[in-house]
C-alpha cells in the first residue's frame, strides 16, 4: 500500500478518505454489502434510492441484460432496475448499522419522490437516521409517470421546486443527480442550484436498448415477452459522462462540486473524470462486472500516479484538464502532421492498409512481397485510424510536419467531366452563426 499521498477529499464539507464511492444501485442495496465494500476500500456510499413505502416496488424479471464486444464481456449493461424494494424501516436500520460500525464512511441517502411531501418526508427520515448527505434522484431512466425519475430531470421547474423543498427541511448537503437524456445538462443543473443544491452528480444511465431478440423480436431484457427502453451503463457510456461533467465544470455560473459517474472501472477512468472537474466519483457497472475489489487497484494506481507526478493532494488534480478543453474552433489549423511508422516493429498484418484504403486517404501502398505498408506521406490525413487498428503498440505515432509541407488534395476521378457540372460558386456574405 502506498502511504505518502493524500487521497482524501472534501465534498460539500463532508470528508471522504478517498474519492471512490458506490453509486446508488444494486451494489449499495444493503448494509451487509456496503460494509464489505467499506472493508474493501470504498470511502462512502450513495445508498440505493429509498422508497417511502407508499407504492410497493416489485422488480421485473429478468432485470438486466448486457452488451458484449466480441468476446469481451459487458461493454455495457442494460437495466430495468427500480428504486429499493426494501421497506424504509429496513433501509434506515441499515443506516444506523453502518453509522455505528463505519462512522468515518459517509452515507449519502438517495431519495426519489413523486410530490413535495414525499420528497420532504424521505429527506427528513434519511437525515434523522444518520445520512451525511442526500442525493436527489432526478434521473432514474425508466420511470413513466410525469414528474418522476428522469422526467423530473427534464422538467426544470419541478426539479428546482423539489430541491428547494428538501433543502428547507434538512441541514445536510444535497446533491442533485442528473439524467444524461438531455442535450445540455447545464440548464437543469442551474435550476437545481437555484433550488439550493450543494452539488451535482452525473450521469445516471443513458436511455437505450441493448439488443433485440432475433427469434421473438423482443428487445432485451426480455421480461416475459416485453421489452422497454431502459438504462444503459458501463464503459460504453463513459464518453457521455465525461462530456456532461466537463461541460458543467466549465460553467462558471454553476460553480458547484461535481460527482462523476459513468463507466468507471480503473484509476485512469476515475482520474479522467477528476481531471475534467469531478471531485468524487461513483461506480456501479464496474462492480457489477468485477466486484468491490477493483477499488484496491483504483487506490493503488492513483496513489502511484500521484507519487510519480509529485502530487500530494488529490484535490490538486480536480479540473486539471479543463484549461486545455476548448471549442474545436480554437484549434491551430496551421500546424499539420502525419502518421509515422517504426517499421522494425511491423508484423505485416496489413490492417493499416485496409483502413487507409477504405476509410482514409489511400495513403498506404501495400508491398505484397514483403507484406509491409509503405506510407505516401503527402497523402496522409493524420486521422490515425492506422494506429488504432495496429496490433503493435507504438509502431505508429503522430508527427508534426514543417510549416511549408502541403497535403495532396484528394484526386478527382475524371476531371474531364468538370465541364458538365451544373454549379455556380457560392458568393453571398453572411453571419458566422445559424439564422433562418
Amino acid at each position: 500500500m502506498v502511504n505518502n499521498v493524500d487521497l482524501s477529499i472534501d465534498f460539500c464539507g463532508v470528508q471522504f478518505k478517498n474519492p471512490f464511492l458506490l453509486s446508488s444501485s444494486p451494489v449499495s442495496n444493503s448494509a451487509e454489502m456496503v460494509a464489505r465494500s467499506f472493508d474493501a476500500g470504498w470511502s462512502g456510499v450513495v445508498f440505493k434510492t429509498l422508497n417511502s413505502d407508499r407504492l410497493p416496488i416489485v422488480h421485473p424479471s429478468p432485470r438486466m441484460h448486457c452488451i458484449d464486444y466480441g468476446s469481451k464481456k459487458e461493454m455495457a449493461v442494460q437495466n430495468v432496475e427500480m428504486i429499493s424494494d426494501r421497506s424504509l424501516k429496513h433501509n434506515l436500520t441499515e443506516f444506523l448499522y453502518l453509522k455505528k460500525n463505519y462512522p468515518d464512511h459517509p452515507i449519502i441517502a438517495s431519495i426519489m419522490g413523486f410530490f413535495t411531501d414525499e420528497w420532504v418526508y424521505l429527506a427528513k427520515a434519511a437525515e434523522d437516521n444518520g445520512a451525511d448527505m442526500l442525493e436527489l434522484n432526478f434521473s432514474c431512466p425508466h420511470m413513466c409517470i410525469e414528474g418522476a425519475g428522469h422526467k423530473v430531470g427534464q422538467a426544470f421547474q419541478l426539479l428546482e421546486g423539489f430541491t428547494a423543498a428538501v433543502k428547507e427541511v434538512v441541514s445536510i448537503p444535497v446533491i442533485a443527480k442528473m439524467t444524461p437524456n438531455i442535450t445540455d445538462m447545464n440548464e437543469p443543473a442551474m435550476y437545481a442550484k437555484k433550488g439550493g443544491a450543494d452539488a451535482i452528480s452525473a450521469i445516471n444511465t443513458v436511455r437505450g436498448i441493448s439488443s433485440v431478440g432475433l427469434d421473438d423480436f423482443v428487445p432485451t431484457p426480455n421480461v416475459f415477452g416485453k421489452g422497454a427502453i431502459s438504462g444503459t451503463s458501463g464503459p460504453a457510456v463513459r464518453p457521455i459522462g465525461l462530456n456532461f461533467i466537463a461541460s458543467m465544470a466549465q460553467n462558471d455560473q454553476l460553480n458547484l462540486p461535481l460527482s462523476g459517474i459513468g463507466g468507471i472501472e480503473t484509476w485512469i477512468d476515475a482520474l479522467e473524470y477528476m481531471l475534467l472537474g469531478a471531485s468524487t466519483i461513483q461506480v456501479t457497472s464496474g462492480i457489477m462486472h468485477y466486484g468491490y475489489r477493483i477499488v484496491d487497484d483504483m487506490i493503488e494506481g492513483l496513489s502511484d500516479y500521484m507519487i510519480e507526478r509529485g502530487v500530494g493532494q488529490i484535490s490538486d488534480l480536480v479540473g486539471k484538464a479543463l484549461p486545455n478543453l476548448h471549442e474545436t474552433e480554437a484549434f491551430d489549423l496551421e500546424r499539420q502532421g502525419i502518421a509515422q511508422y517504426d517499421m522494425d516493429k511491423c508484423i505485416g498484418c496489413g490492417q493499416c492498409y485496409i483502413v487507409c484504403q477504405d476509410a482514409a486517404g489511400q495513403a498506404i501502398e501495400w508491398d505484397a512481397e514483403s507484406r509491409r505498408p509503405n506510407l505516401i506521406e503527402d497523402k496522409c490525413l493524420s486521422c490515425m485510424l492506422c494506429k488504432f487498428v495496429c496490433p503493435v503498440p507504438d509502431l505508429i505515432s503522430h508527427k508534426e510536419m514543417p510549416k511549408e509541407w502541403k497535403r495532396q488534395e484528394t484526386a478527382v476521378m475524371d476531371s474531364s467531366l468538370e465541364k458538365d457540372i451544373k454549379y455556380e460558386p457560392f458568393t453571398k456574405e453572411g453571419p458566422n452563426e445559424c439564422v433562418i
Binding site: 466480441g70 522494425d344 516493429k345 508484423i347 498484418c349 496489413g350 496490433p391 503493435v392
Partner: protein
C-alpha cells in the same frame, strides 16, 4: 469413460464461445498468409472473418464450398506448417513481445465450424440441375471424395468405386480413432453423400485394363485416386510371421471388426514400430494406449531427421515410447510356429547428406543386436501394388509405379483419365489430396466441354 471409449473417440473441439474468442484474436490481415498457406484453398482468412462478424452460416459455407472435407482437414492437417505457419498473430517482428508466439488455432476453428454445421443441420448445397455426363471416381479417400463432390455439386452423375467395404479410404482405414473418430467421419461423409453421389463399395477397379475400361463402359471421364495401400517391408517373405504387421494392416484393424483381436495382440506385449513418419507415430501412440508393456520406435536416423511432425514426436515421447534411434532393422527372430520373438538391429551412424538432404545412416560393423519384441509393426511407407500399372496400361507411371499426372489439371497420358492423391504424389497429406480432387474436377469439366 473407459480407456476404450477414449481410444475410439477424439477429444472435444472448441465450443462456440471459444471459437469466437479465438476468432477475436485474429488480426484480419490484408491478403492473409493463412489463406495462402492452405493447399486446398479453404480460405481460412475468409471463414474466420465471417465468424468474427457473426456470419456463422457464411463461415461454414466458405469452408464447405472450398473444401468438402473441411472437418477432416481441420482435425488432421499439420496446421503449424500450413495455414498457421505464417499467422501474423505470432507477431513475427524484431520486437515480438513475450508470449505472442501463438498463431490463431485455425484448424480448431475450422473443425468447430464444421461440427457446428452438423449440430445446427446447416445445409450448404442446393440440389443442382442434373446433367447427363457420367463420371467414375476410383477410390473414396480424400482425393476421390473431393473430386466427386466438386462435380456432383454441379449436377454431374458421379459414381465412386471403392474396393473396401466402406467409403472413406485413409480417413476410415488409415487413422486412429482418438485422432479422428468414426462419428466425425460419418458426419462428414453425410455431407458428401447429400450431393447425390453414388457409392459402389466392395468394387475394386483392378485387373487388366480395369480403369481404362470404365471409359468404354459409359463413363465420360475417370478420376483415379485409389491411394497407396501396399506396405513396404524389410522382409518380403515374412507374411507368415505371427506378430508382424504392416502399418496398413494394423491401423485398418483398429478401425474395423478386428479391433478386439488386435487389442489382444498388443495388450501387455513388447511392441516395436519401425519408421519415423506420422504413420509410425500413430502406430506407437495407439500401442501405448492399447496397453502395450513396452513400445519401441525403431528409426535408422536421428530424432531431428524424422519426417513426423514435431508435436507428434513430443507426444509419443511423453506417452512413454522408447525411441531407439540410429538403428537399422535387419531381420526378424522367430520361435516355434513362426511366432515373432525379436527384431535384429544394427547400430548406425550418420554420414554424408543423401538425396533427401538428410544425413545418410551408415551401419556400424559388428554392432548387431536383438531387441526382444512380441509384435513388430512396419511403418516404412506405402507403395503402389506391383501389378497396378496393368489396371491402366496406357497411363504413364514412374519408377515407383506412381501415376504421372499434370499437377495443374490431374490429366494423365490418357484423355479422359485423370488422377490425384497418393497414387500420383506418393504418401501425402489429406488436404493435398482434397486439392488434387478439386483441380481434377475443374479439368474434367473443361474436358467434357470439348
Amino acid at each position: 469413460m473407459s480407456h476404450l471409449d477414449k481410444f475410439k473417440e477424439m477429444r472435444k473441439g472448441l465450443d462456440l464461445v471459444q471459437a469466437i474468442a479465438e476468432a477475436d484474436r485474429c488480426l484480419l490481415c490484408h491478403d492473409a498468409p493463412c489463406s495462402r498457406g492452405c493447399p486446398a484453398d479453404t480460405k481460412p482468412a475468409e471463414f474466420i472473418r465471417k465468424l468474427r462478424f457473426k456470419n456463422i452460416t457464411g463461415a461454414i459455407r466458405t469452408i464447405k464450398e472450398n473444401n468438402i472435407l473441411g472437418g477432416a482437414c481441420g482435425v488432421l492437417c499439420p496446421t503449424s506448417r500450413l495455414c498457421e505457419e505464417k499467422c501474423s498473430a505470432m507477431f513475427k517482428s524484431q520486437n515480438r513481445p513475450a508470449g505472442a508466439d501463438r498463431p490463431i488455432q485455425i484448424g480448431e476453428i475450422q473443425r468447430f465450424l464444421v461440427e457446428h454445421s452438423w449440430q445446427r443441420s446447416v445445409r450448404i448445397f442446393e440440389k443442382p440441375e442434373p446433367r447427363s455426363e457420367k463420371i467414375a471416381v476410383v477410390g473414396s479417400g480424400p482425393g476421390g471424395l473431393s473430386c466427386a463432390a466438386e462435380l456432383a455439386k454441379e449436377g454431374y452423375q458421379v459414381t465412386i468405386f471403392e474396393g473396401r467395404p466402406q467409403p472413406g479410404g485413409v480417413l476410415r482405414y488409415g487413422v486412429v480413432s482418438y485422432r479422428f473418430d468414426m462419428n466425425f467421419l460419418e458426419h462428414e461423409l453425410e455431407d458428401v453423400k447429400a450431393l447425390g453421389i453414388k457409392f459402389q463399395c466392395n468394387s475394386p477397379i483392378e485387373g487388366k485394363n480395369a480403369a481404362e475400361k470404365l471409359l468404354q463402359d459409359g463413363f465420360d471421364a475417370v478420376f483415379l485416386a485409389p491411394g497407396l495401400w501396399d506396405a513396404a517391408t524389410i522382409k518380403p517373405d515374412g507374411k507368415n510371421i505371427q506378430g508382424l504387421f504392416s502399418s496398413v494392416d494394423y491401423l485398418s484393424a483398429l478401425r474395423d471388426g478386428r479391433f478386439e483381436k488386435m487389442e489382444k495382440n498388443i495388450k501387455g506385449k513388447a511392441v516395436a514400430v519401425i519408421g519415423g513418419g506420422s504413420v509410425a507415430m500413430d502406430c506407437i501412440e495407439s500401442a501405448v494406449r492399447l496397453g502395450a508393456k513396452d513400445v519401441y520406435l525403431i528409426y535408422r536416423r536421428s530424432y531431428s531427421q524424422m519426417p513426423a511432425e514435431p508435436d507428434e514426436r513430443i507426444e509419443a515421447l511423453e506417452a512413454g515410447v522408447h525411441f531407439v534411434l540410429l538403428n537399422q532393422p535387419l531381420d526378424y527372430v522367430t520361435a516355434k510356429k513362426d511366432r515373432l520373438k525379436g527384431l535384429k538391429l544394427v547400430r548406425t551412424r550418420l554420414g554424408a547428406l543423401d538425396a533427401s538432404g538428410r544425413r545418410r545412416p551408415e551401419e556400424i560393423a559388428g554392432s548387431e543386436w536383438t531387441l526382444d519384441a512380441d509384435v513388430v509393426i512396419e511403418a516404412i511407407g506405402n507403395k503402389a501394388p506391383d501389378e497396378s500399372p496393368e489396371w491402366y496400361p496406357k497411363v504413364d507411371v514412374d519408377g515407383n509405379k506412381l501415376i504421372k499426372a499434370d499437377p495443374e489439371t490431374g490429366r494423365t497420358s490418357v484423355p479422359g483419365l485423370f488422377a490425384g492423391g497418393d497414387i500420383v504424389r506418393g504418401p501425402a497429406l489429406v488436404v493435398q489430396a482434397v486439392q488434387d480432387g478439386k483441380v481434377a474436377a475443374r479439368a474434367i469439366k473443361e474436358y467434357l466441354k470439348q
